[in-house]
Amino acid sequence: MSDSEFDVVVIGGGSTGTAVARDCAMRGLRTLLLERDDIASATVGTCAGMISSGLKYRNEPDIMELCSEEVVHFNHIARHIMMKIPILAPLLDLSDAASDSGYIDAYSEHAEEREVPAMMFLTPEATLEIEPMVHPDVIASVYYEEFFIDPFRLSLLQALDAINHGAKVHTYCEVIGFEKTGGEIQGVVFYNRITGTTETVRTKLVVNATGPWAHKLARMNDSKLDLRLNKGTHVILDRRVVNVGITARALDGRWVYLFPHENTTLLGTTALDTWEDPDRLVASFDEIEYLLQSIEAVIPSIRESRIIRTMAGIRPLVPDWKVSEDKVTRGYQIVDHENGMISFTGGKLVMCRHMAQDVTDLVCKKLGVKAICKTHEKPLPGNEDDVDVESLSVEYGISLHTLERMRARRGTDIVKILELTKEHPEWKTTICTCEPVIEAEIRYAIREEFPQTLNDLRRRLRLGTGPCQGTSCTYKAAAILSEELDLEGDDFLVDILDFKAERWKGIRPSMRGEQLAQEELAQGIYTCVGNLDQSDVDYDLKPWEEGA
């Protein structure tokens, strides 16, 4: 394939963009994915990973049906990166139950195809046995089950699968313009942030999957796109503190939740109409307090748990105005600008594959290509078979838990990493002690999954996402990255500063309680031992850093 001629250029490497690239490539289109930063580095990277049954959207039955179908598809193509979470909605007064029974029927309508039970009521005794942290005055609870996926791995696997099918994927390439003839897009101009060069490729069509930047990209193409941008914030706890997921009515009557996710717990989410720059977004004090107070009503001791950080992202909602956020459709729209660009608005993580299917159908139609979608049939890399980590642990002499965490990221591809340790037994060394991540997986990810920075490694490996937030792994991982990518000493330091800044962005707004002790230790290590505060490298403070 030529490196400068494509049928379609997909812009945006989130869950949707990577799904589109995968679908296009699988249908034989010459496909290029351009991402300004890294895969899953914005909206999808700040979501809870819920492959929602759509029960919040019971007024949109077709959306619930779609969500349910997609859950079935994901269980088929990506079960190795999924978990089922049992969920309780504790009720503290009868009006809770009476005012809102519609969702029970709506949820239960499609439960069978997802192989989960219809919603059920539990007694207070049963509720407290399942979750003793629930308020003792609980009068009943509603029980249901949902599926969760690792949103980083999903996006990355879609990108890798697109590459497997012949697509090109370029991260750190920011689109800065379009070449047009007669108002029609002929080419895409982008700035390569790694090489520092400007490049141009020719293409027949452009799919704009840039989420909260979609209107700006459309404007660059002289097209108008309306979006309703909506900020969502999560508070992240250091471990699974609840036995099951908990959902509750927030102070303002919306639903909020406390979901076990991987080896943490997520408390979310807020929903605020926003006009902020997505690149400068941080959680606010009000959002954190809103979440804590809301969940406190059903889990009174929540503040005793350890908050390690926050994360904030922007939902690119369909532009329904004059209604509250939760009345806005969670469906998506495909907007054909009729000039070579097709844009998305709206959508949910659970729909990303379906959105890709729809837009690829349109792309194929426009290009006169006859090819059918297979993205729901073919498994994503690693989901080909079950993995017996117990025998792998014996075979390769690596601890079971290390392998189980690795399996949850990689499925059958785990063996490719383990093979590396045959030649390099020293790569069995644990680098990130919280997750854990061993050196072999870092080396493998650097070689096969095109990361450029420590933050990219974090998204691929959960590096530095545990209770200590990179206190003890950053230097070690940076040394490996520098060796593999042949980075200069200054680049090495800047990358450490970038990584710490990205952690700080999430830590700073919620820092309290036990995390203060952790941060003090981290500061001690990085300033007293690492002398990082004295480094004279050329580094610009991020907008959320003190002194910026």
């Binding site: 978990m83 089922k84 979470i85 049992p86 039970p117 219809a118 059920m120 009521f121 539990l122 007694t123 049963a126 046995e129 399942i130 979750e131 003793p132 942290m133 029980y143 089950e145 250091d238 471990r239 699974r240 503190v241 036995n243 099951v244 076990p260 991987e262 080896n263 943490t264 001791s301 005793e304 748990s305 350890r306 980590v389 642990s393 601890s399 079971l400 838990h401 392998l403 189980e404 965490r405 069995k428 644990t430 002690t433 919280c434 997750e435 854990p436 545990g466 209770p467 200590c468 206190t471 003890s472 036990e514 002790a517 952790q518 230790l521």
Partner: protein, 412 residues
Amino acid sequence: MNEDEAFEYVKGTLRSERITPYHPYEIEVVRSIEKCINCGLCINHCPVVAAVGIDRFSGPRSIAVELSRSPPEYWSTADIVYLCTGCGTCREVCPKNVDIPEVVNLIRARIFKHRPDLVPKGFYVVQEPLTEYNLAFQPWEDKEEKSESRDMRLEKLGLPYVQDRVLDKAEILFYPGCQAEERAQEVREAAKVILDYFDVDYTLLDEMSCCGLPARLMGDDQTARSLADRLKKKVKKMGIKKVVTTCAGCTSNLSDLSYYFDWGVPTVHILEFLAEDIGLQRFGEDMANSSRLSPVHVTVHDPCHLIRHTSRQIMDYALEILREIPNVRVTESEAYDSCCGGGGLVSYHSRDVADAVVKENIEAIQKTGAERLVTPCPLCTAQIENNLFKSGSSVEVDDLTVFIAQRLPKKG
């Protein structure tokens, strides 16, 4: 589905997702573990890490920040958590008081429930007698043989035999624990000699049953609870004021049980009983009259279950008691408070690890030049004695209770 059926269904999902909900009393343990700041201080003090290296046992820090974070994955920690001897050194040195030994029990309990196939097979040697006879060891088949063994031991140690006393009502329950009941019978007998000497109003149980600690350590919570309940009922019914034991493990476990489950009856080690109830002055005065044994040079080992799980005060008492006994010279070992490797049931499945841990003690004991080691725990006694013997050392080991009983003057 009615509510009961619904609950049954939910239990099924929890089982298949390998979730055993935290009990309210476990939440306190989880809260403590949340305080870990990954500083790694514990790794430098963990005797198992020191003995076998971090690649074999990833250490207390990894239990706090890695292995304990996601209950559905607890099964995958089975190659590590059974190597913890539960000595509590990590908790003692931790600047945040993270309760590692308890979180290890909490994890083991979940592996026992969800993946019994990953529980070390060696544990079943303990589990069988626990469920069948309420004892941690297979009881003697022939009671006469048991008495003969006891008499041989008494004769060798020069201890008199004091008749067993089982009373309906008494001030004190003397609880020897399984090891002294079935194996190290001399410890049980020695305690009786001491209690008898000081005219203590005590009784034994009509039928000895385990305090449940071994069941807890292997993760069999159900057996642990039923054993604890059984004992609690008896203790309550007898109306005793205090439990006196000669076992370090029983002391700490019964103290915990008493605290968490409202027994209202304290448990003390016999050393505490001597120091606090009999009084060091009276003990010393009586001992001054004793001329029973020739001068002896000893060193002392501190059992983890006393110093770290109960109180270091108990071993201060031990030294004070030794000072009151004539002709006893004490030299401190450099590793006096280092785990002997006998804890956490590690020796039941990974003998090599347990023996690697005790090595430091063996070397330090020999360096003291003492001819005898004394320690107030039958488990430590057995573990150290075996390994001193294997290393060809001439140092002999005595349970401290036996050592004291041997030196008491003749009653009369």
